[in-house]
Amino acid sequence: MLPYLVRRLVIAVPMLLGAVSIVFFALRILPGDPCVAMMGDQATTEALADCTKSLGLDRPLLVQYLDYLWRSVQFDFGTSLRQGYPVSEYIGRMFPHTLVLVMASAVVAALVGIPIGIVSALKRRNPLIDYPLRIFALLGLSMPVFWLGILLLIVFSLRLDLFPLIGGGDLDGVLAMIRSGEFLSHPADFLAGVGDVLYHLTLPALALGFTLAATVSRLSRSAMLEVISQDYIRTARAKGQLERAVVYKHAFRNMMVPLLTIIGLFVAIALTGTVLTETVFTRPGLGKMLVDAIGARDYPLAQGAITVFTMIIIIVNVVVDMLYAVVDPRITFK
């Protein structure tokens, strides 16, 4: 297993390098001058030239690229052109918010999507069950997270006053307590902090999770349909096993492999979904930060965020590949 992991991680390096390089050049190819974006129409040509020089954008592209690579290797992504914060620290602050959102929405999507997919597949001949479940899936697919988010805010925050309107909770405080070990000496504070984070996370995770649950349920349904048409399922039934045992012992475990593949894709979809979710729920996070950075041509910030996104997707894919062997003993690492 370890050699496999090492090999995968080694392969990940050129993948990351390729992605980072594409992003670097793509951002430069995009029309739009960061200095014009920052200085506006009152800037003189001389002032724009000064700005370009001070940001190092007057250097040949190759020099900028090599400089960027050299810094990146040292985990120095530079400073945000707009706000002046160090990119790595900035991303370090935003990343946990995005991570908990993706994880929480994954939980929602899995808890809602997988059972619906399984039930829908098993009860496909019962229109009273299958149709409503498929309609639910269609609803989730056709409902933009943005719209659903506003709806949830109006109902649960404005009308029922159950959830907060904005913010991400004191995740930073929680992490600080974990780092300092204070969570052991002040468990009540720590739990309150965790509760606060979850409290702020509920509506965004529901909004994003529900839209993703639709995809998960459809894919789970087709995975289950494929599995239950296999010979070994028929054999299990012929042996007289209980239907529950057939489903949970044989079918469910076998549908995990295609489902895991979905999870790899799912993370990428969820990361994209965080942009709108973070915007509508006014949560800090990487998604919205990235979009703003691209709009403002804040190259270091955009490059840093995309690098992190790429790393997440690579890591998730490696983990998923390794989990294949865990859920299916027929798969071995070679």
Binding site: S54, E89, I154, L198, T282, G295, A296
Partner: protein
């Protein structure tokens, strides 16, 4: 990269919820672990706490909402503002509207817009950090007597002539990051006469010099000591003399300002301002109705937005002159090099319909001049009336009986641009001018219009409220964008017709004669048909009048620039 990074020493702890706005990092008391207060300093109510517990459906049920806060906390007067996040708090470094709005809470200039008959006007200025001033007989040396005893925030000492000299020179020297040095190019030298007297020598007489000294963009005075101490980190360590001082910034969440006890005009009634980063107008509206926010700085005030504000009993504070949306027609680009085609274009555009669609009723006005109403020198201009028939006839006369097609017409996907262009596209189509729109990102749009890729350009903005900076920016031949020379100016009409008048206006000391000069510029622009103004849109903020009051009439009670409240210290919390 010259900029040194600014350390992120802030806390990420924001919440706008009325019911359970506990932000442990801010309000958790070491002596009382787990006690939470809301953003107004009130304890989480017993009504709220069970909801919080219910809502979170967690096991950590017994820690919130148990303890009452100290009395001072409970009585704290907090104003919550929903806007976008500023990109810096150094007033000389950002062109963003939200940055310019927030820095007004912290900084002051030598002069300020005068309050006349209960209204704030942009036509006159009065002393602010300067007590008085004199002008030399030749009109080139201004001597400012500075107000004594004015204190900078956070113990940075008394405001003196050193700070004035430093504030202007850092911009004139184009210190990296500063943006507004161009507005101070008229200055030749700054001399400190004594700690409370400063003399500013100009290269030539400047009729709008006192306007340049208003607390806005280049006019703000920063603390020399603070800038020198913090260096590039001053961006997030602002020190001014305004009514509020900077407390902290939680990136992507909020900026917190606190009342400055030693503010020269007296301590503001508001104790704290929380400036939340809320990018979505829909979320802002929900927050206003819920009571999370007291003031909204919307991205755009649409009819729907205004209706919702009205329904919830809130008001919109309208501030002139605001922004103007207008077309500049590139008179060098065929077929628009033919004045008949430009006239046809103007006959084809139904300005009233565009204004009424985008800004019905009081939300905007049909623009009456290429120099907006509210700017010194403005006169009403006459434009070809909406008449598609005449437009078609003129196109025929110009040899274009079947009209023409503009391929790859670039337009920004942001703000008002796509809405205006979609309407204009339909109106132009009726006379045979086919626009093939390419909707692009805002930054790309700015790049493309400076490459002269669009034969006519839609543009908007607010500037110092005088004809000279406005007309110079958009009609001076020095501002013609040219990719070959790298000129990224904003004379999108490529107009050269008023250079002589602009030069004359800059040295004219007689106010009436200056006004006459700018009247003439507008007549020439009218004659040459290079600019078609569409709508004048006031600066608009939504306010909960039951929570926050302003002494000025919501309807144009103030004229202001990018900030809607000239005097944030006059805002009051009502309960």
């Amino acid at each position: 990269m010259n900029d040194r990074p600014v350390p992120l020493t802030v806390v990420l702890a924001a919440d706008g919820s009325r019911c359970a706005n506990h932000t442990p990092a801010e309000t958790r008391s070491p002596s009382r672990p787990g006690s939470y207060h809301d953003e107004r300093g009130k304890p989480m109510s017993s009504r709220c706490a069970p909801r919080w517990l219910l809502a979170a459906f967690l096991t950590i049920l017994s820690v919130g909402g148990l303890v009452t806060p100290p009395p001072a906390e409970a009585q704290k007067k907090v104003v919550n503002i929903a806007a976008k996040e500023p990109d810096a708090l150094d007033p000389h470094t950002s062109i963003l509207g939200q940055t310019q709005a927030i820095v007004r809470f912290m900084y002051r200039g030598l002069t300020r817009f005068a309050i006349k008959n209960g209204k704030v006007t942009t036509a006159e200025v009065e002393p602010d950090l300067a007590e008085s001033w004199t002008l030399s007989p030749d009109g080139t040396v201004w001597t400012f007597r500075l107000r004594k005893g004015v204190q900078f925030h956070k113990g940075f000492g008394e405001f003196t002539a050193e700070d004035v000299k430093f504030s202007f020179e850092r911009q004139m020297n184009r210190t990296p990051g500063t943006r507004f040095g161009v507005n101070l190019e008229v200055i030749k030298a700054i001399e400190i006469v004594d700690p409370h007297t400063v003399q500013i020598a100009l290269k030539a007489f400047d009729p709008i010099f006192l306007l340049r000294m208003v607390g806005y963009q280049q006019g703000y005075i920063v603390s020399k000591k603070a800038v020198e101490r913090f260096g590039d980190q001053y961006k997030w360590n602002p020190v001014g003399t305004g009514p509020f001082y900077f407390d902290r910034h939680s990136p992507r969440e909020k900026v917190v300002l606190k009342a400055f006890d030693k503010f020269t005009g007296g301590r503001p009634q508001i104790d704290e301002v929380q400036w939340f980063d809320v990018p979505e107008d829909a979320t802002k509206l929900i927050g206003l109705e819920k009571g999370t926010f007291d003031l909204l700085y919307p991205e755009a005030v649409t009819a729907d937005f205004a209706d919702q504000v009205k329904k919830m009993g809130a008001v919109i504070d309208r501030r002139g002159p605001g922004s103007q949306e207008r077309f500049y027609i590139n008179m060098t680009k065929p077929p628009f090099d033919d004045i008949r085609v430009r006239r046809a274009f103007m006959h084809a555009i139904d300005r009233k319909a565009i204004k009424e669609t985008l800004y019905p009723g009081d939300l905007g006005r049909v623009a009456s001049s290429c120099l907006p109403d509210g700017y010194f020198g403005h006169i009403p201009m006459t434009f070809p009336e909406y008449n598609p028939e005449k437009a078609r006839k003129l196109l025929t006369e110009a040899g274009l009986p079947n009209g023409f097609t503009i391929k790859n017409y670039f337009i920004s996907k942001s703000f008002f641009y796509p809405k205006v262009l979609t309407l204009a596209q339909e109106q132009l189509r009726k006379v045979g001018i086919i626009l093939e729109l390419q909707v692009v990102e805002h930054a790309t749009y700015h790049e493309n219009i400076r490459k002269n890729l669009d034969p006519f350009v839609l543009y908007g903005g607010t500037r110092i409220t005088d004809a000279d900076p406005w007309l110079s920016l958009f009609f001076d031949s020095k501002e013609i964008p040219d990719p070959a020379t790298g000129n990224k100016g904003t004379n999108f009409a490529h107009y050269r017709g008023i250079d002589d008048l602009l030069a004359a206006g800059r040295v004219e000391r007689d106010v009436k004669k200056r006004a006459a000069i700018y009247a003439e510029t507008q007549k020439r622009i009218e004659r040459d048909l290079v600019c078609l103004p569409l709508s004048d849109v006031p600066g608009q903020w939504a306010r909960n009048p039951k929570r926050v009051s302003t002494p000025f009439d919501p309807d144009y009670g103030e004229f202001s620039l990018h900030y809607s409240y000239n005097y944030p210290e006059m805002l009051k919390v009502l309960n």
